[in-house]
């Protein structure tokens, strides 16, 4: 355990082995241009922002709310962003601003659903049911998604962006405003924990299946 923590620790500072700068200087200036155009009434510019950020918004939401509600909430996020575009002070900060709105929408979703329950910060010892329907619970994809959802929030968000949405680590950092070090540590540690969870499930399910057969 300590060993794996140390690996992650080294990764945090280990960027010095392979220095990676934010790849998105041109993207940031593109964002700023598109935001400025959208603010001036250009809907196609907002559409381009949607294309660039929809996966990130979808992934962040998927890490927080049941999969069946994610698509609707993605639209809510962008509609909310569209309405508040005039309040964005730095056009180039669109990504980080959108992440904050996304988390806010997820937070509101949980508050509306179960008023007394706070949004789970860490679900390390519990599982958030994520299957779309009862029949899907046996599907391997849902099984794996449930395993991801049983990780702590930090790890599950980053892993979902990487493994579900197909974003690379540098992309995740550029879109969400996290540092490369944080993303790399989250990916590495999250993956370690996911492996352990999946191993535990296999060893748990295996004997039961044998018994039933």
């Amino acid at each position: 355990m300590a060993g794996s923590a140390d690996k992650g620790d080294l990764l945090a500072a280990g960027l010095r082995f392979r220095p990676l700068r934010e790849p998105s200087v041109s993207e940031i200036s593109e964002d700023a241009t598109w935001v400025a155009a959208a603010r001036a009434g250009d809907r196609s510019a907002f559409g381009r922002l949607y294309e660039r950020y929809a996966r990130m918004v979808h992934g962040v939401l998927l890490s927080k709310v049941p999969v069946g509600d994610v698509d609707d909430l993605v639209q809510d996020v962008f509609i909310r962003a569209l309405r508040r575009l005039s309040t964005l002070r730095e056009n180039a900060n669109f990504g980080a601003w959108l992440v904050a709105i996304t988390r806010n929408v997820a937070h509101d979703y949980h508050r509306r659903s179960v008023p007394a329950e706070p949004l789970p910060d860490s679900a390390s010892d519990q599982e958030i049911p994520h299957g779309t329907s009862g029949g899907d619970q046996d599907c391997p994809s849902v099984e794996v998604l449930n395993a991801v959802m049983s990780l702590s929030e930090t790890y599950r968000e980053t892993l979902i962006l990487r493994l579900v949405e197909g974003m690379t680590g540098p992309e995740i950092a550029a879109r969400t405003g996290m540092t490369h070090g944080s993303v790399r540590v989250n990916l590495y540690r999250g993956m370690e924990q996911l492996r352990a969870k999946l191993r535990a499930r296999t060893s748990h399910v295996g004997p039961e299946k044998e018994k039933s057969s």
């Binding site: 140390d6 690996k7 990764l11 979808h58 569209l82 900060n93 904050a100 690379t168 790399r184 993956m191």
Partner: protein, 372 residues
């Protein structure tokens, strides 16, 4: 004691093997493409929705254009502006108990007090204005929201006051209790005064607690937070925490998964009035228990220990993260700020220039820092 050299080689190998997970370069471990295939089923694939019409923002340049073409219209507009300005100044001199500028109470569970008024959950949405105090009892919760700043969730038994809502600075005071903030205002604009420190948002989400003695604790979950009081500054990145005490100010930030010995020694060092011998002992424990990510703590310690201990901290921190070539040992030991900042940037957290850029002369309502 671990063999750092052999671990390092193992770690370097791990990093190389993990490049596929990071940026899809190199050979993947077989399970990762398999996971990508299984989980890819949930990937976003909806087409671009039809967004509503965007109302273009008003541009003052149009107004100027009119002014050039129609001088009379310009004169009239200037006259109207003068009347508005005078009216504003007249009204401004009158003290008002509430102000239209403020935070909306977007959610309420139980009842809360705003000033002298008790607000129930069934009442219409209300506002907290500048100069007003908001207080939750031991069973109520509330959320405050301001479109261009962010959101504050207020836990039970909390009292806060809204101090300012300027265009460049939004400031509240947390007298006691717990708030969870999600801020989307630009870094450096949202400030919370506590009895023992001033927290400065640097683009983040964080939880801030203040107990009845005025002692505080900040835990950052996204981005990073600056904690400052009278020259003592602490930077708390996501996953880290930092305590503050009245008359002492912010302690040294740390990651909460550090060993118990590490955290206990650090707490004694920061806040207990111990002998110099005990302090040296506590620093030694912190150094020996430190892991790679505790470079965060060691960097902060550089400016908080005496000259003799600073050399030890320098050596240990260099072991984890070598200082940049542009920083000299002599410079670091005499606490040259630009060199310390350059070393911070090597630690893998956020760029300290963000803080330096937004830094103002924060002077909290808290009491002065005790000299160590």
């Amino acid at each position: 004691m671990r063999d750092a050299g052999s671990h390092r080689t193992e770690h370097e190998t791990s990093i190389e093997n993990d490049n596929y997970l990071w940026d899809r370069s190199g050979d993947p471990e077989p399970e990762i493409p398999q996971l990508e295939t299984l989980l890819g089923k949930f990937r976003h694939d909806s087409p671009i929705p039809v967004f509503p019409e965007i109302v273009p923002e008003r541009r003052w340049v149009v107004f100027h254009w009119h002014l050039r073409l129609f001088p009379a219209l310009g004169m009239a507009a200037a006259g109207m502006a003068a009347i508005v300005a005078v009216t504003f100044l007249v009204y401004r001199t009158k003290p008002t108990p509430t102000n239209l500028t403020g935070w909306n109470v977007s959610y309420l569970q139980g009842t809360l007090r705003i000033g002298q008024k008790t607000i129930g959950a069934k009442e219409a949405a209300t506002r907290v204005g500048i100069g007003q105090m908001l207080e939750t009892d031991n069973q109520s919760r509330a959320s405050l929201q301001a479109d261009d700043i962010g959101k504050i969730d207020v836990d039970p038994s909390t009292r806060l006051r809204l101090l300012t809502m300027g265009t460049g600075l939004k400031r509240i005071a947390l007298d006691r209790g717990t708030i969870h903030t999600y801020i989307w205002a630009p870094p450096g604009q949202f400030v919370v005064d506590t009895p023992s420190a001033v927290t400065v948002d640097l683009g983040c989400a964080y939880t801030l607690q203040v107990d009845d003695s005025g002692a505080g604790m900040v835990r950052t979950s996204l981005g990073w937070v600056g904690f400052k009081l009278n020259g003592h500054e602490s930077f708390i990145p996501a996953g880290a925490a930092c305590a503050t005490r009245p008359k002492v100010g912010p302690g040294t930030p740390y990651f909460e998964d550090a060993s118990t010995e590490f955290r206990s020694a650090l707490a004694r060092f920061d806040f207990e009035d111990t002998t110099s011998q005990q302090r040296a002992h506590d620093v030694a424990i912190v150094l020996s228990e430190a892991r790679q990510r505790d470079a965060l703590t060691l960097w902060h310690l550089l400016a908080r220990v005496d000259d003799q201990q600073r050399v030890l901290v320098y050596v240990r921190l260099s072991h984890f993260v070598p200082p940049p070539v542009t920083a000299t040992k002599e410079g670091i030991l005499r606490l040259d700020q630009p060199m310390l900042d350059m070393w911070w940037n090597e630690l893998g957290f956020d760029d300290i220039s963000v803080w330096r850029h937004w830094e103002h002369s924060w002077t909290g309502t808290a009491t002065p820092v005790r000299e160590k």
